[in-house]
């Protein structure tokens, strides 16, 4: 548990997010284009961090469903900006366990003639170290 608290503090630090500012309005999730794909929704990320449940977040599929479109970052009326939190947890997973989203081989197999470089580069950056 103590290492959990430590990691949560690091996540707060590197993301710059203060979950205590959240007023639970749900605008982040309402704005999210991927919310229906997510097992844990953007507004829940804030509550999970607040109550110290990091494990659930680190195992969440949402880390790889977040589009990184900054809709929740832009529209959060309290400057909590859950997108930053999702991204920091994803980064923590990558740092602690290596990649879990997709393997290099998986990404490689999905390449077609039409896939732009930008897609590969961003997929690698989102899923791997």
């Amino acid at each position: 548990m103590s290492s959990n608290i430590e990691t949560i503090n690091i996540i707060k630090e590197i993301s710059g997010v203060n979950p205590l500012r959240c007023m639970k309005c749900g605008k982040c999730t309402a704005s999210c284009m991927a919310y229906d794909e997510m097992d844990i929704k953007p507004h829940q990320f804030v509550s999970y961090i607040e109550r110290g449940d990091l494990e659930s977040l680190m195992l969440s599929e949402s880390l790889y469903k977040c589009l990184g479109c900054f809709a929740c970052v832009e529209r959060c009326p309290r400057n909590v900006q859950p997108g930053k939190l999702i991204d920091a947890v994803r980064q923590t997973v990558i740092r602690q366990r290596g990649a879990e989203g997709m393997t290099t081989e998986e990404i490689r197999q999905l390449i077609t003639q039409e896939v732009p470089q930008q897609l590969l580069v961003s997929a690698f950056r989102r899923n791997r170290r």
């Binding site: 630090e13 590197i14 993301s15 710059g16 284009m33 991927a34 794909e37 790889y64 469903k65 589009l67 990184g68 479109c69 900054f70 809709a71 970052v73 832009e74 900006q81 997108g83 930053k84 991204d87 920091a88 980064q91 989203g101 997709m102 998986e106 990404i107 999905l110 039409e114 896939v115 732009p116 470089q117 930008q118 897609l119 590969l120 580069v121 961003s122 997929a123 950056r125 989102r126």
Partner: protein, 284 residues
């Protein structure tokens, strides 16, 4: 006038059209885009974590080169623009991260975000001016008409009819990276942008206003979660089509890919630099 230019990885391969049309149009408007030497890929995604520094180094190198030349750095790709602009701001803010990067790079003169990063649309609006573009487009149209009249056997009627941009109902698709987060990007109103609409008007088209123009197309998730990206792209195209769009324009190769993968709604998606080059009468 000369500008530094960062094309980015995709513009060199799958999005060559976006690149060539941007360069040639700039030339036609009296400006030169000088490609940065030995630029490296921006990484496609801005790493938001404060302590994530290695992933920002390639951008810092490009920014430094532009700053040394005293030129504004022009980007066309939405992702490159997003990453370069935010890395530059991070360096400008200073702080321990900026110092660590300068130390690591062994910079004799520390880089403090002196470069000015502008997107090609901002270049058109603020550096060239939409009024000047309008003039150039009208001149190109007159020249085209005169040429047709000189040689009526050349299918005049058809040529005038196929005026490529004029009065075409064009839906601008902004996507996310150009606009958000607006506090950093300072590109336009994040919820009600107008720069692309003004651009379309300047080149003689008819902008279409539709609600999904600044929502996400699915971005990188289309590699693994294709159905979801297709659904988002469908919503965007459906929204544009519902407001009568004949064409959708975009600045982003990934938006282009995702919107094109969606094949249910038949509406052409093209790069904004392509319609600019067409309006200027450039044969590319």
């Amino acid at each position: 006038m000369k500008y530094s230019y960062f094309p980015g990885c995709t513009l060199k391969y799958k999005a060559k059209e976006l690149d060539i049309c941007a360069r040639e149009s700039a030339k036609a408007l009296g400006c030169e885009l000088e490609e940065i030497e030995e630029w490296q890929c921006c990484g496609g995604v801005y790493t938001m974590q404060k302590d994530e520094l290695a992933t920002k180094l390639a951008s810092v190198r490009a920014l430094m080169e532009a700053a040394q030349k005293g030129q504004a750095l022009v980007t066309v790709c939405s992702a490159c623009h997003h990453v370069l602009k935010r890395v530059n701001l991070m360096m400008r803010e200073g702080g321990p991260e900026c110092d660590r990067i300068n130390n690591y790079m062994n910079n004799e003169i520390p880089y403090r975000g002196e470069a000015k990063v502008i997107h090609y649309l901002e270049f058109l609006r603020d550096e060239v001016g939409f009024d000047k573009i309008k003039e150039a487009v009208e001149k190109a149209q007159t020249a085209r008409k005169a040429k047709d009249q000189e040689d009526p056997a050349d299918g005049t009627a058809q040529k005038v009819k196929t005026e490529p941009v004029k009065d075409v109902k064009t839906a601008p698709y902004y996507g996310c990276l150009l606009l958000r987060p607006s506090a950093q990007m300072a590109f336009d109103d994040p919820e009600n942008p107008s720069i692309m609409e003004d651009f379309i008007e300047a080149i003689g088209g008819k902008p279409v206003y539709y609600p999904y123009r600044n929502e996400c197309c699915g971005a990188y998730t289309s590699i693994k979660n294709k159905d979801h990206a297709l659904r988002l792209s469908w919503e965007i195209k459906d929204s544009a089509a519902g407001f009568g769009a004949e064409k959708i324009i975009t600045a982003c190769p990934l938006c282009m890919y995702n919107l094109k993968q969606e094949k249910e709604i038949e509406i052409p998606v093209i790069y904004f630099t392509r319609i600019l080059a067409d309006a200027l009468g450039l044969e590319i």
